[in-house]
């Protein structure tokens, strides 16, 4: 049995919202992760030899900043996506559906941001650790 027209609108709307928020979260996670590199944000680091967490980067002592970078990116992107969620609720009418062009642009922007950020991560680490030099670039 076909659903009522109003039900169909609700189903499509939920799907559109999920799509937009997915795109926002992907873009923001990539962006905030890169921010930790761009701005050298000080985050908690794990020191495996001491079994301790510290909010400083002690030179010469092996430590792991990766956990903190992820936590920062996921949290910041989560908050950003939540803001986008409430923003969408307020700005967009419940009956409105996204136009095909808007859906495409939204997907393309999120993909573009993710690709640029991944490229930046690669360039940052390859330059820092001499990978480009090792392969003759």
């Amino acid at each position: 049995m076909l659903p009522y027209a109003s039900e169909r609108v609700v189903v499509v709307k939920k799907s559109d919202a999920a799509y937009v928020l997915s795109a926002v979260f992907v873009a923001l996670t990539s962006l905030f992760y890169c921010c930790t590199m761009w701005f050298h944000i000080t985050l908690p680091r794990y020191y495996p030899l001491e079994h301790a967490w510290k909010w400083v980067n002690e030179k010469g002592v092996p430590s792991q900043g990766w956990y903190g970078m992820q936590a920062f990116a996921f949290l910041a992107a989560g908050i950003g996506t939540l803001i986008a969620h409430f923003g969408l609720k307020r700005v967009v009418s419940p009956e409105a559906n996204l136009k095909p062009a808007q859906i495409r642009i939204c997907g393309a922007i999120a993909t573009f941001v993710a690709v640029v950020c991944m490229g930046y991560m690669l360039h940052y680490e390859f330059s820092r650790w001499g990978v480009f030099t090792a392969i003759g670039l």
Binding site: V26, Y33, Q64, W66, A73, G107
Partner: protein, 157 residues
């Protein structure tokens, strides 16, 4: 003593086996998703199964990776790769950064796939297909670099 260093070998093997499942399911997933671009939507159920298997496999790979990272950081990276082969650390660092971003992408990929029907909402393939491609790039990079680094130095004595 570093966290879980006595279990590094078995955990690394488990990491590898879960990666086999991950790379298999994601690659098959990509082959079906590429067919969506040609207007062929005949294997959606199988594709949805691959998405679920991939998410679980990625989660397992990720958790094991997080657990064995301290032992790797001290015994392999700090004592061998950083001073002897710094470029290998560069390859590894990208693997870790992409892996972290990939986790967010995987969750989004799963939720997105759950929320739409590819045959009926073709415009949404503008995000879905690139995400699938990016995840395959990440997964394959992790497999190749992970295996290569293990070949260079996989354990310590």
């Amino acid at each position: 003593m570093v966290f879980l260093e006595n279990f590094y070998g078995p955990l690394l093997l488990a990491h590898l086996f879960a990666t086999f499942v991950l790379v298999g399911s994601m690659t098959h997933n990509l082959l079906i998703v590429i067919n969506y671009l040609r207007g062929k939507f005949g294997r959606q159920k199988l594709e949805w199964l691959y998405v679920r298997v991939s998410l679980w496999a990625y989660s397992i790979v990720y958790v094991i990776g997080v657990l064995i990272y301290p032992a790797y950081r001290i015994h392999l990276r700090h004592r061998y790769f950083d001073p002897e082969l710094p470029w290998a650390t560069g390859l590894f660092e990208v693997k870790e950064h992409w892996g972290a971003v990939g986790l967010a992408m995987f969750v989004v990929y799963y939720l997105l796939r759950r929320s739409f029907q590819p045959a009926e909402e073709k415009d949404k393939l503008y995000l879905y297909v690139p995400l699938c491609l990016l995840l395959n790039v990440i997964v394959w990079y992790k497999v190749v670099v992970g295996c290569y680094l293990t070949l260079l130095k996989g354990s310590w004595s």
